[in-house]
Symmetry: C2
Subunit: 188 residues, 2 copies
């Protein structure tokens, strides 16, 4: 018999991604988002939900572009900081020591130090409630050469993404390999 | 200098969640989804994207409800199978040995054997491209008593959710604890 925990934003895993944007003056900003996911295969798209109160919200509305930056587990302090501070009154790139790189494809910066980044142009905006969801078409994915593995794809054990546990407010790393998708369940 | 990998649905981590639905005859079905995320804090909401070709798509359109079931890493074979087979021609509950439980809150079944489940009523439907995104308001979260930890919340090390790596097609477990959210980055 399952125990009812109430109507909560509680599910595992959620990502820890940094959303890169420019403000009206061209200042680069990042904010941490966990309410985010790949949301369409064709066109390849990613969704990220932000509160209107965030500085990044206004940036995305104005520029219609953002980047998704996947931090490495060694960047967990910087990622946490970017979810606490606001770009309204802090220069989060300066404080974290991260380097903003202007995307050549969209009107947004990406984080040079993050191993994996996505450059996105807003295709849909959905008002849900406290959060507004921006769907971005992924125009390119870029990775650091040193995290690439088999077939030229990123090796998840080298990228070392961070997992967020909502409600329990905990960060975890990636664990052991469990098997190949579209393969381990074939014989059931 | 980052290497361009092209416009791909490539980001880590993505979840491995089972979407529970009823078909027109009341047959319970599950399908695996990785294009899914929490998408709003108030009302608490979760988004899941499905292709129109899936059996679950029609079920959700008709019933306007679904459950999200978080499988344990020991259920990786069942989770993989539910992403390969179609409810059009297979009874996936019977094949996996999973038990469908009728939700008392929404018109959808959940998986008795999954440690953590969300009961959702569709609030928005967004056409993105190949995938249609269903946003569901989370009416309740339920967990097995044996996975509960501190403060009555689920212990992620007991839930043991699965992480999917798109493009690399790999499943991984949860790894080591990296720190407390809204805390480890305070001193930056």
């Amino acid at each position: 018999m399952k125990k009812s925990l109430g109507a909560k934003t509680l599910a595992f895993p959620t990502p820890v991604w940094l959303v890169g944007t420019y403000d009206k003056d061209g200042k680069a900003n990042i904010m941490t988002a966990a309410w985010a996911a790949i949301c369409c295969s064709s066109p390849p798209s990613v969704a990220v939900s932000l509160r209107k109160a965030t500085y990044s919200y206004g940036n995305i509305v104005a520029r219609q572009a953002f980047t998704i930056n996947v931090p490495n587990e060694n960047q967990v302090r910087e990622a946490d900081y970017a979810g606490i501070a606001s770009g309204k009154n802090e220069d989060k790139f300066a404080r974290t020591g991260f380097t903003p790189v202007k995307s050549e494809l969209v009107d947004a910066p990406y984080v040079a130090e993050c191993p994996l980044i996505l450059e996105c142009r807003v295709s849909h905006t959905l008002e849900i409630g406290l959060h507004t969801q921006f769907v971005g078409e992924i125009l390119d994915v870029k990775a650091d050469p040193q995290v690439l593995g088999e077939g030229g794809l990123p090796d998840i054990d080298k990228v070392k993404p961070i997992i967020f546990g909502p409600e329990i407010r905990a960060y975890h790393g990636i664990g052991r390999y469990l098997g190949q998708a579209f393969a381990v369940g074939k014989d059931i």
